[in-house]
């Protein structure tokens, strides 16, 4: 105990430590790997049962991938805040005066990492189950689209997840608040993915304007979250 008193803490350090912590917890507990990923795969199979037509499935594959992502996002965000709320660790972070912007960025980065893995698996499932074809020219578009969409989803998810975690016992509010906000991501990512798959006769070049929308969305909500996260997680 060499002297007391707080040292200045930078936002980037908080973000890095929080992201590492969240990912390490996931590596230990494997809740997302063992429960959320199988759930997302199950949703993809259920879509096939409901639509029951190979031509339709390969036409709408892009949309189904992103719908399954949105459903999984809800669970993923709830899990991300549950590990903090369980023993009052989120409160401990607030009491310790960690910069809320740092907590926000850190948790969003961890959610992003998990989402990217999930989306890769879902796209693979689409290729296998729905028989979509992906050409080399579409790969660049698809990768850019996934990166931009994932950033947007993670920022919005963390933002509203923080609000519902701050107001304990109101986790059911999360989908109502979050899904309308991520609608542009669903529209944009679906169109871009369909272009990458060239489903419905779409050209790969049609997808790029949508990636622009996704990027704008991610930037807007990154800034919005950094500014407002502190107000939302207070009780």
């Amino acid at each position: 105990m060499s002297g007391l008193g707080a040292r200045p803490i930078s936002i980037s350090r908080v973000a890095r430590v929080i992201a590492t912590k969240d990912l390490r917890i996931e590596l230990r507990s494997r809740v997302v790997t063992n429960q959320v990923f199988p759930f997302a795969g199950l949703v993809m199979v259920m879509f096939a049962f409901a639509l029951d037509n190979d031509a339709v499935l390969s036409r709408v594959a892009g949309g189904l991938v992103w719908l399954a992502t949105l459903f999984s996002l809800i669970i993923l965000v709830q899990r991300s805040f549950a590990v903090d709320s369980a023993d009052g660790a989120l409160e401990a972070q607030r009491v310790a005066g960690l910069d809320p912007a740092g907590i926000f960025i850190g948790k969003a980065i961890a959610v992003m990492a998990q989402l990217v893995v999930l989306e890769m698996l879902l796209l693979l499932a689409a290729v296998v189950l729905y028989r979509v074809e992906l050409h080399i020219s579409g790969v660049v578009l698809l990768v850019t689209c996934v990166i931009c969409a994932t950033a947007g989803l993670a920022f919005v998810g963390t933002l509203y997840g923080g609000l519902t975690a701050g107001a304990r016992g109101r986790e059911t509010l999360l989908p109502l608040l979050m899904l309308p906000v991520v609608a542009p991501v669903l529209i944009g990512a679906t169109r871009a993915t369909e272009s990458a798959f060239t489903s419905g006769g779409a050209a790969v070049s049609d997808g790029w304007p949508w990636v622009g929308v996704l990027a704008v969305f991610a930037v807007v909500f990154a800034i919005g979250g950094i500014l407002s996260f502190g107000s939302l997680i207070e009780e």
Partner: protein
């Protein structure tokens, strides 16, 4: 002597109820103050208000020279609150939990190792998942986080609850040591006999007021 805590007629509302109803209360640096009183008297609320978690709606409240009515944020980095929850990550080990706080504030790994040694949570147990530990070990781990964070004001809410005799002795030793390094400590406890030996002063909290 500088005042670490200075509450004057402070009213703190929790869930629409004035859990602290005009409390006047001062603590000077280096004191170890025992808060005693029946359940629901406002001990927990007093500690949480000191940590800047609950707003002071009437009266005045200063902690570490910061006016809580104006700014509840900047006091937080300098106090440590140990409530009924330990604030640990159940899926991480003791070492990882303490390292988390050390990395956040930029403390060295040596400091972490030294703290864990002093708290008696080094060796094999340091790499156990927190969810597998006993209540006493969890509590010591939580206190170690406060030490690593270098909190100037320790706010301990029933630190002895749920521990056996040995665990309680260990907590006492940790508190004595923190105090000897200059930390100010507020303890809310029902363990009057035990804590009186520890405390430099005791006050009673009754019906939302400090007497």
């Amino acid at each position: 002597m500088s005042l670490v805590v200075d509450f004057r007629d402070a009213v703190v509302v929790f869930n629409g109820f004035p859990a602290l109803a005009g409390a006047t209360f001062q603590v000077t640096r280096g004191e170890v103050v025992l808060l005693q009183g029946p359940n629901g008297a406002g001990k927990t609320t007093l500690l949480r208000a000191c940590a800047g978690l609950l707003p002071v709606v009437r009266g005045s409240a200063n902690v570490l020279g910061i006016d809580l009515c104006v700014d509840r944020q900047s006091v937080r980095a300098r106090v440590g609150l140990l409530g009924h929850a330990n604030g640990l990550f159940a899926d991480l080990t003791i070492r990882e939990n303490i390292l988390f706080w050390a990395q956040v504030i930029g403390a060295s790994t040596d400091e972490v190792t030294a703290t864990m040694h002093r708290m008696g949570i080094d060796g094999r147990i340091a790499d156990e998942k927190v969810s597998l530990l006993s209540a006493g070990q969890k509590r010591r781990c939580a206190l170690a986080c406060l030490v690593v964070r270098r909190a100037e004001l320790w706010l301990l809410d029933e630190p002895h609850a749920g521990l056996d005799a040995k665990g309680r002795d260990e907590i006492d030793a940790i508190i004595r040591e923190a105090s000897s390094f200059g930390a100010t400590v507020l303890i809310a406890s029902h363990e009057l006999e035990r804590t009186k030996g520890l405390a430099t002063r005791s006050v009673s909290v009754v019906a939302g007021q400090v007497q």
